[in-house]
């Protein structure tokens, strides 16, 4: 490809890359090297130089954005995720995070408040007791992880669309953005059409018990039409916004829409 333009006479390309990588901040360096290594086998096949890996990554990101558009177009707001009998529930339901269970947030339910921000009429914060008083529904659905595994669970809580109505949210806004108590600050954007899907839920119970710490106490957002990482746990705030604010995994390259 445009290999020649990178060539400087008398400079070894490999050494040049090595030096350039050294000057990068740690995290960028790790990802750059991982990206380069990932293209290693492909380099053998195509003869393309490793220097093109940056451009490859840029093209892949653009295709992923295109895939967001395609998925939004495919999304049917009335299509329901299949539901299952209680006998189908996976036991034990797996704990999954980028940290061990010991490092999971320990939220004090007595002092915790859900913060509401952005394009809403009523920005008051909600205590757990106030949220528990809202009408709840139970659903048994399949949780599908981006890694490929899946598990069936039982989640009970308030449909998010009812809550958005209650707080006078501008449902013409593009996103509801959630922030969480996980270490490193987990967050994730949810497109408004999915937020208004009848099965999208502010979850307070798992298998009829108060949501345990492993599954996101005190509140999880259960979205059966999205992959697992778009189902934030330990939620501390929600913001109704037109801005794309990114997300913990989305920023690292997982497809942002990631709809089922």
């Amino acid at each position: 490809m445009a290999k020649r333009s990178f060539l400087i006479p008398g400079v070894d390309r490999r050494l040049l890359i090595k030096d350039a990588v050294k000057s990068m901040p740690d995290l960028t360096r790790r990802r750059f090297i991982a990206g380069g290594a990932s293209l290693g086998a492909l380099t053998l096949l195509t003869g393309c130089d490793v220097l093109d890996s940056d451009r490859a990554e840029e093209v892949l990101k653009q295709v992923s954005k295109f895939n967001d558009t395609v998925q939004a177009w495919m999304f049917n707001p009335d299509a329901l995720a299949p539901t299952f009998p209680e006998s189908a529930i996976t036991k034990p339901f797996p704990f999954n995070a980028y940290y061990d269970l010991d490092d999971a947030p320990e939220v004090d339910g007595k002092t915790w408040k859900l913060e509401v921000r952005g394009l809403v009429d009523n920005k008051k914060s909600w205590t757990l007791d106030e949220l528990y008083a809202l009408p709840q529904v139970k659903q048994v659905t399949r949780h599908i992880c981006v890694e490929g595994w899946s598990a069936i669970g039982s989640w009970t809580g308030t449909p998010l669309r009812d809550f958005l109505k209650l707080i006078g949210a501008d449902t013409r806004a593009k996103y509801v953005w959630f922030q969480c108590a996980d270490k490193e600050g987990y967050n994730s954007p949810l497109d408004m059409r999915t937020a208004l899907h009848p099965q999208t839920q502010m979850t307070f119970k798992f298998a009829d018990e108060i949501l345990p710490r492993a599954y996101g106490f005190p509140m999880k957002i259960r979205v059966p039409t999205k992959l697992g990482f778009k189902n934030p746990k330990y939620v501390i705030s929600m913001e109704v916004t037109n801005d794309y604010k990114g997300g913990y995994w989305e920023d690292q390259g997982y497809n942002s829409f990631s709809g089922s």
Binding site: A34, G35, A37, S38, L39, G40, A41, L42, L45, E57, V59, L60, K61, V63, S64, N67, Q71, M74, F75, N76, A79, L80, A81, P82, R142, I144, C145, V146, E147, G148, W149, S150, P224, T225, W249, Q252, G253, Y254, N255, G259, S260
Partner: protein, 209 residues
């Protein structure tokens, strides 16, 4: 449809010259690239949550980590699907599938398989497929269709729920997807070995003659 059939007509008459028409060659190599990208990125995705008690070595996977592999997989899928769809439409419309791949008779397959295993199979006329070739080429097209359908089921298990039902449920679609990959890899090994044993067939797929 008629224009395509007409366009294919002269090449049939000149079959002594052209063994693989240009559209077959183009789509074959696009498919080869798309398949390799899909398989290598698919192995990396598999590694995130293996179905069996093994994983694929990193040196033969694409993407570096799950996120990178998913980007590759969901980009190459367009190449695979659009090219594959065009291939199916052209294959049926020009009558190439019917002409080249049918009929497949059990007797023919058995006798040609015996001949192949004893290296007595004739390769004088590359424009005519023997029964083993017919079976494998028709079979791999079917596997290609199933791997795309099972892949779509895993990508959109809610929106394409009826497709998932075809396989039973989401976890089963994963196994079907994996098995199809394994079949394609087996085909690929046999296909490449035979192409190298009969180099003029490889030449025909590159320059047509």
């Amino acid at each position: 449809m008629s224009t395509l059939a007409a366009a294919d007509g002269p090449t049939v008459q000149e079959s002594a010259k052209t063994i693989q028409p240009a559209w077959v060659r183009t789509m074959h190599w696009i498919n080869a690239v798309a398949m390799i990208l899909m398989i290598m990125s698919g192995w990396q995705i598999y590694n995130a949550s293996p179905l069996f008690d093994f994983h694929f070595d990193k040196s033969i996977t694409l993407g570096g980590w799950l996120g990178g592999a998913l980007l590759w997989h969901f980009a190459a899928m367009w190449l695979l699907m659009i090219n594959g769809l065009a291939y199916l439409v052209t294959g049926f419309a020009t009558g190439r599938f019917r002409r080249k791949l049918l009929p497949i008779t059990p007797g023919g397959v058995i006798s040609d398989a015996k001949a192949a295993l004893t290296f007595k199979l004739s390769h004088d006329d590359l424009s005519k497929y023997n029964y083993v070739q017919k079976l494998l080429y028709a079979g791999i097209i079917a596997v290609g269709v199933v791997i795309v359908l099972s892949g779509l089921s895993m990508w959109k298990p809610v929106q394409l729920y009826y497709l998932v039902m075809l396989f039973g449920d989401y976890p089963t679609a994963r196994y079907v997807h994996f098995i199809c990959m394994a079949l394609i890899c087996l085909f690929l090994i046999v296909h490449v070995v035979l192409a190298l044993l009969v180099p003029k067939s490889l030449r025909a797929m590159i320059i047509g003659r």
